[in-house]
Amino acid sequence: MTQVATPQSLPPDMDGLELAYNGREYKAERRGDKFFLRTRTEGGSYGELQQVVIVTGSHNLQILWLETGQGRTLQQFPFGYIVAEKMWAPVNDTFLLPSNMKEYYSTGAWNGACMDCHVTQGQSRFISGFKWDSQVAEFGIACEACHSEGREHIERNRNPLRRFKIHLTTRSDSTVTNPANLKGPESGLTCGQCHSVWAFNDMTDKIDFNRHGAAFRPGAGDLSQRFVIQPNAPDHPEQKDFIRRTEPDFFHNRFWGDGMIRVTGREFNGVQASPCFRGGEFSCISCHEMHLDSPGQTDAKTWARTDQLRPKMDSDFACLQCHKDISSRLVAHTHHPAESSGSRCYNCHMPRTTYGLLHAMRSHQVSSPNVQESIAYGRPNACNLCHLDQTLAWAAQNLHAWYNQPVPELSEDDRMIAAAVQWILKGDAGQRALIAWGMGWESAQKVAGRDWLYPYLIYTLTDSYAAVRFDAWESLRTLPGFSDFSFIYTAPDQTLGEAATRAYEKWLREVRNVNAVYRQETAIDSDGRIHRDVFQRLRSARDEKPIFLAE
């Protein structure tokens, strides 16, 4: 969502804020209820005041937008505020992207991209160069975003007799769309108009969207000027080919090799590709709700913090509301003790294989774990995301024994070295981020142990991707002895190296249990060091292809 910048909507302590990045220094000051920024290059003098006019995001990350003096064109303040950590960081370092992509989002980015979804019925209205004349219906994601146009609804329902006629009969109000009354695909598309990876049908539709905003209205069966991209589906072949030609990394930066979405904020791609979706009833509101009107719903703050779920939907009940028979044979189905994390539906069928906002998030493509997905596409499977200390071979054998899944062809490393070790040392930045985050997951730590995680997380503090370093730091702080470990994940390389050395020495001298026995699969020797040959081999085989998870 987007809000007008006010003392209430902006991060705290803005007045007097001073930050520096990429050779420029920024200074904020408050005048009444308005905030302004001055910028100067290092050694120069501060320039004109620029007012902070709007702020995007509220729960996780806040990004500020400044006036430019060019009509409604906005410029990004290059620092974002990470709400949970109460810290400022360069916006580039709050996304998973290569460090050489400086100031990826800049002047006009809000007009040209962000406002497509962070407002209600935005019209970006590009003029020329860096000039826009953007307009919105409302800054927040308001009623009409999900319930369609409201004018007729409001006018006709001024009459109380009409309202009570609707209340006292089973008739639904024909003047408004209620996603709760729609079939699954249409209901899901209401959310999916934004929460999906989409593209324009053609240039005409793109221009129309730019001038007049989205033609899609909730209740419709497709996005009108746009379509939801499922990479491996047969629809829109020309448009997908065009994307492949003009933006070769488009799919790689958003999807796993089998077409499963790997970035957060685009959950409808996953929902649409789920087997549950084919039943015609399953949609986003099977588990989430946008109004707090269910009996037993918690307070607004908790609801917002817990993914806006309906009551009890953080439990197995989410799946059992349809798959009722599983509850009576839970252990036979999961092969895990009933109360263990291995018997929780989410952990196996919606593992955390999507990434964004600096953390791993559950996949919304309901699937069953298999090792082939890890070998063919590099996607961590649910078994090894919890059993971090086990190999792919171990997972494959269990899946074969329990579910008769074929055992895929495995390499020597797949049989000898824990899958998580392989991913965090030789995986691409997206895989490393998932594992760095996963090593802080309490359920995984209980199952796989904590002692052996230190060296890997400490090493990952020097990762070349800021987002990966952030997750390694977050996970390290969940381990005994490191809860108050200070670390600036956006610091220069030399400082990062010094911090990692400090962390390693702290672990070796103060924290490490000298009697700890490390499983062979973890590739940690009895002195607490990563086996040199394993480390060098896996590290040199790292997938260094630049990746930008375009959430």
Binding site: P160, R163, F164, H167, L168, H291, L292, D293, S294, P295, G296, Q297, D299, A300
Partner: protein, 135 residues
């Protein structure tokens, strides 16, 4: 006639002050049926029932006392009747309207409110006229 309004007023005051204590308890124990975000219409209706019930109880008491204090002033039978029923129907309408709610609308019971309001309007207007015309 005036005694009837006086008696009714004090008993009514007792009832609606007790209702106030019940509403406080619903707040105190954080009862979701009353305080959840989606139940703000119910909260408004119950608050209005409590406020109108209490206020109209006091109006009945004042009307009863006015007959005793003001010389040559009597309460017509129809006014006494209307004042009592206004003090019943108005808060009852709000209260019943809050039991079952429809999104932003109260339940059917709220239709008692305009009836009570009409009775209240008649009785107050009649008292005002009668007080002005007394010799």
């Amino acid at each position: 006639m005036a005694d009837r309004n006086l008696r009714f007023g004090w008993w009514s005051l007792l009832v609606f002050l007790s209702l106030g204590a019940v509403l406080e308890a619903l707040h105190g124990f954080k009862i979701g049926w009353y305080i959840d975000v989606g139940n703000d219409t119910r909260r408004l209706m119950f608050t209005l029932a409590h406020a109108h019930g209490t206020l109209l109880a006091l109006v009945n008491i004042v009307a009863g006392l006015s007959v005793r204090i003001v010389e040559r002033f009597t309460l017509r039978s129809s006014v006494s009747f209307a004042l009592i029923w206004a003090a019943i129907l108005l808060p009852a309408g709000f209260f019943l309207g809050g039991i079952v709610i429809y999104d932003g609308d109260p339940g059917l019971g709220v239709w008692l409110v305009p009836v009570g309001a009409a009775l209240l309007f008649y009785s107050i207007a009649r008292i005002a006229f009668d007080l002005s015309r007394r010799k």
